[in-house]
Symmetry: C2
Amino acid sequence: MTNLAVLELSAARGLKNIEPGDDLARLIIAAFARNDLSLRAGDVVVVAQKIVSKAEGRLVDLATVTPSACAVQLAAETGKDPRLIEVILSESVRVVRKRPGLLIVEHRLGFVMANAGVDQSNVTTSDGTQCALLLPENPDRSAAALRERLLVLTGAAVGVVINDSFGRPWRRGTVGVALGAAGLPALIDLRGRPDLFGRTMEVSIIGFADEIAAAASLLMGQADEGRPVVLVRGLDWSAPSTAAATIVRPPEEDLFR
Amino acid sequence: MTNLAVLELSAARGLKNIEPGDDLARLIIAAFARNDLSLRAGDVVVVAQKIVSKAEGRLVDLATVTPSACAVQLAAETGKDPRLIEVILSESVRVVRKRPGLLIVEHRLGFVMANAGVDQSNVTTSDGTQCALLLPENPDRSAAALRERLLVLTGAAVGVVINDSFGRPWRRGTVGVALGAAGLPALIDLRGRPDLFGRTMEVSIIGFADEIAAAASLLMGQADEGRPVVLVRGLDWSAPSTAAATIVRPPEEDLFR
């Protein structure tokens, strides 16, 4: 028996440009199969939010958007396209911070994030239409559906994480976080477990899905080459599966609202 | 040539309990050598803050601490040991949030974190003295020194990250973050680089060292077994090395102070 704990992350290059209606599970399986990798029980598949949203057709043609007066005002304050702001507001429950170049909102799913996760930079459809790309309607549901489809196609019960990159207060740089999760615990609660010296641990809810999301981001790349799917092998957990929605801190325990 | 990008993380079990003055570099090399792993140029070694602090003797015997009136007051408000609060305040520049069971401060190094990173739960010295363990005096310097020592002992130029687990606003669960870094870019600035479609990317400073820290946390374990050193192989970067101090967001660009 080895004395090492090993985690292996593999990202397949060469996934095609995803279009609405694409069968992501089949494309993911094929991409890994071309590299002699097949899914196994206990693997975790991390998928970039962008391709999940594309497969789900979460595109809004900006030419069809009429900005509200509020969106026009906010566009002037932030220096963004008023139609994009309109789309962002339609996905948000409140504006958290704004300044030129930056709009941080609370997304309808509770995520505090820039631009409600609405992405304009990498999205042009094949006919050249300029689109905004929204987050999946329900990323936990998307993760569960993808997990189910992977199970049907391969027989392997894997975990699925849908990740995105978030900025953070106080620290520069974005890090991968989990928007959706299925088949694994989004959080692992160690409260009450004894530590190395038998005392009870104080702060000990682990952001398991977020750490997986961050790890996968290291391989995904951001700019010239896209690797939107990462296979994580070697994770170990005993906690029950929970959705990424449980990561969102309820207002009553949030000191930073 | 393979079409896969692969990242491998390995954590060695069985590192001895670290004591002040221990040669961490030698112990780390030995722990991996027992598993037939030797360091190579381009590897990144992630080390838990706790063992760096222990090796540096950053222990404070709580029996020697006399709490100030301010510490006594804050102890009553948070339900913590006044001596521990005194130690926390000595490492902090301001209290950011407090409530029963929770004290979030700005550490003298700029980190906004619980308890200034002062740890009581896993620290008892061999003679049974109850101690608090502070963060390293300068984690970037610690990382650079460890990197230099690893280079001398093995000839391999590796990156070093010193990590810890932080809670976050808005999201439940702690995630690994980088307190110190050497030999790699703590942040990777992609601003101005074209995206997949040739447009310029908007939000594109990657929290590289933090993502590495989070990935390593997945293997480190928190409770019954400690694996405080993780070797990360397969990372790729071209940006120049920068210290983890660059991650701390300067007050003038921080919207959440």
